[in-house]
């Protein structure tokens, strides 16, 4: 082989076989993988909407109140409606704090337990205090809250900026 700079017959056949083989493999493999992962490439991220939670005056000061709302999204050939919940806590006459009820551990929904004054997650007993901070349990961070840009009171109505994703 080294004697000539021309490629030998056997090597040429090997090369062509490998090239054609790779080409066919890609031609089959790319559609196959694309087909399987297609839904994973679509995310609802970035879709935002202001969700009204009700008039501020209806919320009792200091008492966490659960507000539910649903959002629908098209998944495949079907509309999926998802329920979401947030805890609205009115802290004073014109101030309000809104917590997501999604546990920061593994995504179960926490419930406010009046008798112990804590949000308790039914899955792994994570407990959060009334201000969302960690009391005990496996959760890595306090409850997520809607604040700043994502929270407003418009004409006496509490609204949150909900982001899908």
């Amino acid at each position: 082989m080294a004697r000539s700079h021309h490629i030998g017959r056997r090597d040429f056949i090997k090369l062509v076989t490998a090239a054609v083989g790779s080409f066919i493999a890609a031609g089959i493999g790319i559609p196959a993988i694309g087909y399987l992962i297609h839904p994973a490439l679509k995310t609802g991220q970035g879709k935002e909407a202001w969700i009204p939670l009700g008039p501020l005056e209806n919320f009792e000061i200091g008492k966490p109140t659960l507000v539910n709302f649903t959002r629908t999204r098209v998944n495949g050939w079907e509309r999926t409606s998802n329920s979401y919940g947030v805890y609205v806590v009115r802290t004073s006459a014109d101030e309000v704090v809104v917590f997501s009820n999604v546990c920061t551990h593994l995504g179960c929904r926490v419930n406010w337990k009046e008798e112990i004054g804590a949000y308790v997650c039914p899955c792994h007993d994570a407990e959060f205090a009334a201000d969302g901070s960690i009391v005990r349990g496996p959760q890595p961070r306090p409850l997520d809250r809607y604040e700043g840009e994502a929270l407003r009171i418009q004409d006496g109505i509490v609204e949150i900026l909900f982001t899908e994703g």
Binding site: P31, Y35, L36, G76, W77
Partner: protein, 219 residues
């Protein structure tokens, strides 16, 4: 490295013997008509792979069957390609299997000692047609619905037990969700399992007896 790995595997699996027995067999005389069996096998595998892929999105329920196929065709990346191959491959498979049968008949390859290969081959042809019949309903469109109505009605023409056969095929008096799900079950589990098993025996018999020589003037 690879040679050592291959030698290790070969020592335990007998790959070389397997290769010699199945693929390195003597051929009486190269002939394109003798490739139809392999073509049928290839189409069976192709239908299997594309069919498995289709089940990722297809839903065998009257509420969702049609919409899920619309989704495969219009939304999923390369969904049109996978379904297209499955759709046309089905027609091609019936055609190739049938021509394969004709060739065996014309060259009298079904004679001793290959009668069993032939009988199993008839079973394979019928199963292939069964796959076509059950698969045809799955899109749950007008054509599928009425074709199955007619097909199951024809089965009902059998004397005495015709009504029972129709009800057994439909899973009741009417074409319903039960019909769709039992056709789906037959299409993806029962018939393919039977097909795969019989294909195994069919190929074993071919390997065992070797290919038949084409008849010449003397015969």
């Amino acid at each position: 490295m690879w040679k050592k790995f291959y030698a290790w595997l070969d020592e335990r699996l007998g790959l070389n013997d397997l290769y010699k027995a199945t693929l390195d067999r003597p051929e009486p005389k190269g002939n394109w008509w003798n490739t139809l069996g392999s073509a049928s096998l290839f189409l069976f595998l192709l239908q299997g792979v594309t069919g498995i892929f289709l089940t990722v999105y297809y839903t065998p329920s009257p509420d969702h069957a049609y919409d899920s196929i619309q989704y495969i065709m219009n939304e999923v990346a390369f969904g049109w390609l996978i379904r297209g191959i499955h759709h046309w491959g089905a027609t091609l498979m019936v055609l190739v299997v049938f021509i394969h049968m004709l060739r065996v008949f014309v060259t009298a390859s079904y004679k001793y000692p290959r009668e069993l290969t032939w009988i199993i081959g008839v079973g394979l042809l019928l199963l292939t047609l069964g796959m076509g019949f059950t698969g045809y309903l799955l899109p749950w469109n007008q054509r599928a619905y009425w074709a199955t109505t007619v097909g199951t009605e024809i089965a009902g023409a059998v004397p005495f037990i015709g009504g029972f056969i129709t009800r057994a095929l439909r899973g009741g008096e009417d074409l319903s969700a039960l019909t769709l799900s039992r056709f789906f079950s037959a299409h993806i589990w029962m018939l393919p399992a039977l097909l795969a098993g019989l294909i195994g025996v069919h190929i074993y018999l071919i390997v065992k007896h070797g290919e038949s020589a084409f008849p010449d003037r003397e015969d």
